[in-house]
């Protein structure tokens, strides 16, 4: 019996199985909340039992855009008695008004091995104005998501993460290389899309083909393309520009492909969460089906938690569509006919036919009023991004509580502080690691770039100290085990990269 010597994937399989089988649990339980505002609601009880694992979610994901937000918590569950792969039900009167909650179970897919893969992260620029997408741009964005994820699916590469809108990266000039302290401030959000796929490091052919075809797509549609800098000792947030955004070509492609779509900004949107066991090619299938029915994507957040994929999409609702006031759950095909009633079902062999969907009622959306790139500094109230990275012992402080602390700690310096996304998961060694991006408006307005930089740096330093002081009291957590970084630059988040 000759086998390749590498046992990395075998031990990963053993780990997944061990985690899935531990404690009699055989499925993943999750809760999902659609609502307004940006602060996630804690799902744990007021006085959680430190020893009871079912009180503490292991994975958490929050995302807000256009004034709407989705948060998801996941933990392993004992329950395995349900039919199908996923089960989801609405929860009545679970929280404040205008929030819609759901809970469910999913069978995780232990064969979905992606820990040993190399991550390729991509930043796509779909415009250089501030973010207020029209119906047509939503369709264009859906098309691009579909094309990108299909490229990954062709190579059996799982989509680890997809997120839009995100903060654009300003063009760097040679003189500004180095630590980035002098580079231009980033916009909090822009018409950009960030996604990462996992490729087996030993299949460099597949990776190179993917990147080449991505560059060809960028050329065809005119979108800007940046890849994560693959050099050693470069960290997350270091980008390498492959192509700049070609405004004219992008405009032409958009008008050619969607000549009839409306060029106004949608006022209402529904949040659709498509949930199922992780596989490759699912995002492409979901977005393609929607786009074929004329539904674009305003904003999206896709992530895998406990081998279950959550595709959260903010879908624009046509201005003349009847107003639904009820939340809804059901199968994928039913959801499709609900979203675009005019079209009949075409039962195909899509990989997500057995997935389930949670749909919120149509909700009013809002867009950020100003941006730095478009010269809004003159009017004041510019939103700036702040990144957060943390590592805390499990079962001490749950992520929504931590985010609330961060908001409170930034309060003295800011007029407004929103959480654009947050994600945390339980890692080896019983620690929860997470990252978040906050959008802040400083309470003091300045036009001067350097002053704003200093204000932001001061605010994050002070807030960081404050949170470190508060946390031990909040969750009775050992202060030596708290690691937390708050920074106006994404690449400054990383702790010394000495393998733990």
């Amino acid at each position: 019996m000759t086998l390749p010597a590498n046992s990395t994937k075998s031990s990963e399989l053993a780990r997944i199985a061990a985690e899935a089988a531990g404690n009699y649990s055989s499925s993943a339980q999750f809760t999902l909340t659609h609502g307004y505002g940006s602060l996630p609601i804690s799902v744990i009880s007021a006085d959680p039992d430190k020893e009871d694992p079912s009180d503490w979610p292991t994975d958490f994901c929050h995302f807000s855009a256009a004034g709407l937000s989705v948060s998801t918590s996941t933990w392993p569950s004992v329950n395995s008695a349900f039919s199908g792969r996923v089960q989801i039900d609405p929860v009545e009167h679970a929280g404040p008004q205008d929030t819609y909650s759901y809970s469910g179970h999913a069978v995780p897919n232990p064969g979905f091995l992606n820990q040993s893969t190399r991550k390729v992260e991509v930043l796509i620029t779909l415009g250089n104005t501030h973010w207020s997408p029209t119906y047509r741009e939503a369709l264009m964005q859906a098309l691009i998501i579909e094309k990108l994820t299909a490229l990954a699916a062709e190579r059996d590469a799982p989509v680890l993460h997809l997120h839009t809108p995100v903060a654009p990266v300003p063009l760097s000039y040679k003189a500004e290389r180095g630590d980035g302290s002098n580079e231009r401030l980033r916009d909090a959000i822009g018409p950009c899309l960030r996604f990462s796929i996992g490729v087996d490091p030993k299949m460099s052919d597949a990776r190179l083909d993917f990147e080449t075809e991505l560059a060809a797509l960028a050329e065809e549609y005119g979108f800007g393309l940046k890849l994560d800098d693959q050099r050693l000792n470069r960290v997350r947030g270091d980008w390498f520009t492959i192509r700049g955004f070609d405004r004219e070509r992008y405009r032409q492609a958009r008008n050619r492909l969607f000549p009839e779509a409306s060029a106004v900004t949608p006022r209402r949107a529904v949040i659709a969460s498509v949930i199922g066991p992780s596989r490759t090619g699912t995002t492409a299938a979901a977005v393609a089906a929607l786009r074929e029915r004329g539904v674009g994507v305003l904003a999206a957040s896709i992530s895998s938690m406990r081998r279950t994929t959550f595709i959260n999409l903010v879908l624009p609702v046509a201005a003349d569509a009847p107003a639904e006031s009820q939340q809804w759950t059901g199968g994928w095909l039913d959801a499709l006919s609900r979203l675009s009633p005019g079209r009949g079902d075409e039962p195909g062999d899509s990989p997500i036919d057995d997935w389930k969907v949670a749909l919120s009622p149509a909700m009013r959306c809002s867009y950020p009023p100003s941006s730095q790139q478009t010269g809004a500094t003159t009017t004041g109230r510019v939103p700036y991004p702040i990144w957060l990275w943390w590592q805390l012992p499990h079962r001490t402080v749950d992520t929504p509580a931590l985010l609330a602390e961060v908001q409170a700690a930034l309060q003295p310096h800011t007029r407004r502080c929103d959480i654009a996304y947050a994600q945390s998961r339980l890692c080896r060694g019983d620690v929860v690691r997470g990252r978040a991006k906050l959008i802040v408006m400083l309470s003091q307005e300045h036009r001067d770039h350097e002053t704003v930089q200093r204000l932001l740096a001061d605010a994050t330093e002070a807030a960081q100290l404050r949170i470190r002081e508060w946390l031990p009291a909040l969750g009775r957590v050992d202060p030596s085990k708290v690691r937390l970084r708050l920074s106006p630059r994404e690449r400054w988040l990383t702790y010394a990269e000495i393998s733990a």
Binding site: M1, K9, L13, P53, P110, S499
Partner: protein, 681 residues
């Protein structure tokens, strides 16, 4: 119970070496069960947790091995580990709890099933720590596999396709699944041989080739669950897991939660030498005055997550450890991925050329990794040079010229030609750090030259590091390996292979010095007797024969010739031939015996020969023989000097880049003993 057997041809039809071949063979050979094989779910969870932890062993921050060379051919090992229970995550910890006790079952090592021998684990107080029995460990492992199989079936894409084999295995035709489960259990409980195929009762029966629906569905289900296409996604990981479970066993200790940090040690099964060098080579070492060294090589595997690994060696006080060197393949996977990247880029240089920036990104990524490798190996080389300089008899740079200073163009030209020597890589690292390696996409490097670099990297074994001895004692050695501060292949959990090279020798005050003195003394005795009998030294060089050479009192001369060598020989303290020292002294013992034989023969001649002429000639021959033996002794001294000044061991387990850096172009030689502690992996 009815035993269903199928013809030999059916077994032979898939007798290739597929990854799940043993499982398939058992599916064909085992009786079909009529009831499910149920394991408690707690056992399944425990088995999976033990399997997971035993592969990574990331709760062991430190690992030490103490080797003792018992005799030639056997090595005893004492293994000690630091265990940190806090590093086991809460979820796994709940699963590993020993029922009714505040303690955990913790895997501490994996062993080959061949080496089954009692391992008594003791903690720092010397108290014996309870262990999970081998049988129980196998049972929970089998339960784990049955559970894993069920999970894979339940999560399969086609489980709802009612006509498909996966659905049938899960819901309607469960006997086939039970059969697979029984086969897995049998495989784990009994173990599987290393050979290409299993020996089953089917090999002995001539059965008509009728098919059996339950077995056929089981085999079909295995095919559907683990498809050959894209096998590295699930088939290979599962098969590898099963292979490790059937060829190794897990050493599991019960550790109380009251003390989360523990120190455990145990004696590993005695290790026999795997390999003996060719008889001719051994003969040459034993009959030529080459001042033989006894070369021992040792290979083991350590978990990638250990932060520190200590390897100590102890030998008898009479033996000196002349060289002790450890190499590990910690960066090998990184180099392999880099080489594959280089080859992929080389094949696609034309396509990538259309997207210039993409090619530049790839080239910069490659350059940064090459530079890092150069930097790391240079640190290793510096520590090796320091080791040579602090040896009891320091080894200088010898005839190695000082490293050339290369310009950026020269570096690129050398790399393009496939020269990945340390000089070139170090120069590349310096130029890269100084930002002189920009716009690589436009340089001559992007293209077929990358294939040469990939070949050069593999040939130079740049992925292997070197750790040297830091024990000041002569009869012991110690090497301390530390995990690099930045892991270059962070996702990997592949164990790190460690190679140790040890050259044992007889250093001063050595036997050869005593023997030389003895041979010189005997030569002087013969010379003195001859001179006294002939009345001058003329008999040494002249052909004329002195008239009174035959002694008047032969008895006295005979007594001197017999007694003196006997007394000298008795004081030599010759070791047993079985020991390592005996091997080292084999030739020298022969010299001593030969010198005694010469004087004894001369004594016999003195007692019997009456002719002056013959007696003179015999004295001359005896003296010549003793001088030849003395020359052999001096050759031994010279050979020892050569060995001592050798800068790099001539071994295949020493990385090529080190041999190249010290211009050690000689052919590697086989070791005297090779010990493999990796188990059947």
């Amino acid at each position: 119970m009815t035993v269903h057997l199928r013809g030999q041809s059916a077994v032979a039809e898939r007798a290739g070496n597929g990854p799940l071949d043993h499982l398939r063979t058992l599916v064909r050979a085992l009786p079909v069960p009529t009831a499910p094989m149920t394991f408690p779910s707690r056992e399944a969870a425990l088995g999976l947790a033990l399997m997971d932890l035993s592969f990574r062993l990331d709760h062991l921050p430190r690992l030490s091995e103490h080797l003792t060379l018992m005799d030639r051919g056997h090595m005893s090992r004492v293994i000690s580990v630091d265990v940190d229970l806090d590093l086991i995550s809460g979820r796994l910890r709940d699963t590993l709890m020993v029922p009714g006790d505040a303690a955990l079952w913790v895997p501490v090592s994996r062993y080959s099933r061949r080496d089954l021998a009692p391992a008594v684990i003791r903690d720092s107080n010397g108290e014996v720590v309870p262990r999970l029995s081998h049988r129980d460990a196998n049972r929970v492992t089998a339960a784990a596999f049955v559970k894993l199989l069920f999970m894979l079936i339940s999560a399969h894409d086609d489980v709802s396709d009612q006509a498909g084999p996966i659905h049938q295995l899960r819901h309607t035709h469960q006997r086939s699944r039970w059969l697979i489960e029984a086969a897995i259990t049998e495989l784990v409980m009994v173990g599987s041989p290393v050979g290409p195929r299993m020996h089953t009762p089917l090999d002995h029966a001539d059965l008509p080739g009728t098919s059996h629906p339950v077995r056929d569905l089981a085999l079909l289900g295995l095919d559907a669950l683990f498809p050959d296409a894209g096998g590295d996604r699930l088939l290979i990981p599962f098969a590898r897991l099963l292979q490790l479970a059937t060829r190794q066993y897990i050493l599991v200790a019960q550790l109380g939660l009251d003390r989360p940090r523990r120190f455990l040690s145990w004696e590993a099964p005695l290790l026999p030498a795997q390999h003996r060098p060719a008889p001719l080579q051994t003969l040459a070492k034993n009959v030529l005055p080459v001042n033989r060294e006894f070369v021992v090589e040792y290979e083991t595997e350590i978990p990638r997550s250990v932060k520190a690994y200590h390897l100590t060696l102890e030998v008898r006080q009479e033996i000196s450890v002349r060289r002790f060197l450890m190499a590990s393949d910690v960066d090998e996977e990184f180099v392999e991925v880099l080489a594959q990247d280089l080859e992929s880029v080389a094949r696609r240089a034309e396509r990538l050329g259309d997207h210039h920036k993409l090619l530049e990104l790839e080239m910069q990524g490659i350059a940064s990794r090459l530079a890092e490798l150069g930097r790391r190996r240079l640190v290793d080389l510096a520590s090796y040079e320091a080791y040579l300089a602090r040896l009891p008899i320091p080894v200088g740079p010898g005839s190695v010229p000082p490293p050339p200073r290369l310009t950026a163009d020269q570096v690129i030209a050398a790399l393009s030609a496939g020269d990945c020597s340390l000089d070139v890589l170090a120069a590349f690292c310096a130029h890269y750090a100084a930002d002189r390696m920009q716009h690589l996409a436009r340089s001559g490097l992007a293209g077929p030259a990358l294939l040469n670099i990939a070949a050069g990297l593999r040939a130079a074994q740049v992925g292997r590091d070197v750790t040297t001895d830091n024990d000041p004692r002569e009869h012991g050695a110690h090497a301390h390996w530390r995990r690099p501060s930045v892991e270059l292949s962070p996702q990997s959990t592949e164990p790190v292979r460690v190679f140790a090279f040890m050259a044992l020798a007889d250093e001063a005050p050595a036997l050869i010095e005593n023997i030389t003195r003895m041979v010189a003394g005997l030569a002087l005795v013969v010379l003195a007797i001859g001179t006294l009998l002939s009345g001058g030294v003329a008999w040494l060089y002249s052909s004329a024969v002195s008239a009174n050479f035959v002694p008047a009192q032969a008895d006295a001369v005979v007594a001197v010739l017999l007694l003196v060598p006997g007394l000298l020989l008795a004081r030599l303290d010759l070791p047993s031939t079985k020991s390592v020292l005996g091997q080292l002294h084999k030739f020298q013992r022969m010299l001593a015996a030969a010198s005694v034989a010469v004087t004894t023969a001369l004594a016999i001649a003195v007692g019997t020969v009456q002719s002056d002429r013959e007696m003179t000639r015999l004295f001359q021959v005896a003296l010549a023989a003793l001088i030849v033996i003395l020359v052999c002794c001096l050759c031994e001294f010279y050979a020892r000097r050569i060995h001592r000044s050798s800068s790099v061991p001539r071994s295949t387990r020493v990385p090529r880049w080190l041999r190249d850096a010290r211009r050690a172009g000689q052919r590697p030689v086989e070791p005297d003993d090779f010990f493999d502690a990796r188990g059947e992996v």
